[in-house]
Symmetry: C2
Subunit: 275 residues, 2 copies
């Protein structure tokens, strides 16, 4: 694959020729965004490292420089700007979304640090390629998401909240394959955290027909729910800490992701170095 | 600090001049051990990466070579052997400890892979240096440990078990400092996962006076429990998967750790590279 595909996608987002990035630049990992004032960056970084399944960190901007991301493999192009290269952004103040905007140029300041967090679009492509497409893609609905009872392990000011999980229905005899396919995507939530009706109970989900976010999913005969950690979790953690955060916080508009230069293969190669 | 201190400690363990390694080679991180047949190594590696707070991975042996550890910074000396350089080992078959022995030379085969997992001795030194020594060190008891309700996120064959937590009593006004000191030790469990009597309830611990492992701890006037993730957790995960594991599994004898060449500072420097 040629990196030009990822860079072209980012430029189309910059110039607002794209909104929803689902299905764009297949093979490249897409990222969620969270931008915080620098004094909270170390705590948020720790939160991601301590909770890597719901909050998988793909990259962090270099303090003071919205064009540079560490590690450099995440965004290889020098023509990059985290303030413009997502299709749409949200602005939060005191934990509430106060504005949606096309770029952050007017509101970003030198003190902001941006965190790029893995998203499940990557493993959904792989499931589809294996003949096991997620139901919500076939029905054109938003994936069902639930508050689980898996606690987020605290990091500094981020002491509250639980893991959000997304759910896709599968037949029991397909679960081993579904687990195996998504296992490789360790940096974009990886394999499921629970499955089956007993799995739903273990997560504290009493009624699968009533998701907390997104839309209910249709179960076909014999199917059971399969749950993955979800990239909405870090936003919940930031909201839970909002009374401790001064200044503006930014995020991407849901579904409006950044196309990175990471591929699933890159992250597998990196694995032995992650300790 | 000179690495000779860590290497000397390992040689003293090799020649059985040392048993309990608590307090040995201050400043160097000590490691727990788990050795598995290679076909389970990828799943166990994933388990550690998905649950880094209870199962912090410090290093992995190179398949087929008991003298080489990745990353190389973990053990810098070429004169190393994972089969001899812990003071004492345990041999497990079908999830049960069947033998305790001084070295693994006779039972190790080329197919075994060894995992070095961070231990809390490191942050206990730092707490003591800050005038906040753990109670069990002052009373000469074994730290109290409990089964918590924090689920281990599944990885391959490792689908069961919960996080084990250790507990140290502190005064409420010291908790911020205790959190801050241990936060730096991200690769050896890091900051607490819960604290206070409400924290105990959140973890599902009904009676702090009755630990599941170790010994009850004495609370002085006004003190509350502070809980950290515990390095016993990976052993519990392996025991829970024992019906899926064929062949011998090895571990260290509790308290009989490996002194590594990692220092807390090394791991802080590495942090931005951990993604």
């Amino acid at each position: 694959m040629d990196n030009i595909i990822a860079q072209e996608a980012r430029l189309r987002c910059r110039y607002n020729q794209l909104t929803n990035t689902a299905g764009i630049a297949p093979g490249y990992l897409q990222a969620n965004l969270l931008v915080l004032p620098s004094k909270y960056a170390a705590d948020f970084h720790d939160l991601c490292l301590r909770n890597p399944v719901p909050c998988p960190l793909l990259g962090v901007t270099v303090p003071g420089d919205p064009s540079a991301v560490r590690p450099a493999e995440c965004i290889r192009s020098e023509d990059f700007d985290i303030r413009t290269d997502f299709p749409t952004y949200r602005v939060y103040s005191a934990g509430r979304c106060i504005e949606s905007r096309r770029d952050l140029s007017d509101v970003w300041n030198e003190d902001h640090v941006g965190f790029l967090i893995g998203c499940s679009f990557s493993f959904e492509d792989a499931l589809t390629a294996a003949g096991l497409p997620p139901r919500h893609q076939k029905t054109g609905t938003v994936v069902a998401m639930y508050r689980s009872n898996i606690p987020l392990l605290p990091a500094g000011i981020f002491t509250g909240g639980h893991c959000i999980v997304s759910m896709r229905p599968y037949r029991p005899e397909h679960i081993d394959r579904v687990r195996g396919i998504t296992r490789a995507y360790l940096s974009t939530h990886g394999e499921p955290v629970a499955w089956g009706w007993d799995g739903a109970k273990q997560l504290g989900i009493l009624d699968v027909a009533k998701p907390d976010f997104g839309e209910p999913q249709i179960f076909e005969e014999g199917e059971v729910p399969v749950f993955w950690a979800c990239g909405v979790t870090p936003q919940i953690a930031v909201e839970a800490a909002s009374n401790k955060i001064e200044g503006l916080v930014f995020a991407h508009e849901p579904g409006h992701m950044l196309v990175t230069d990471w591929t699933a293969e890159d992250l597998q190669k990196l694995k032995p170095g992650i300790i």
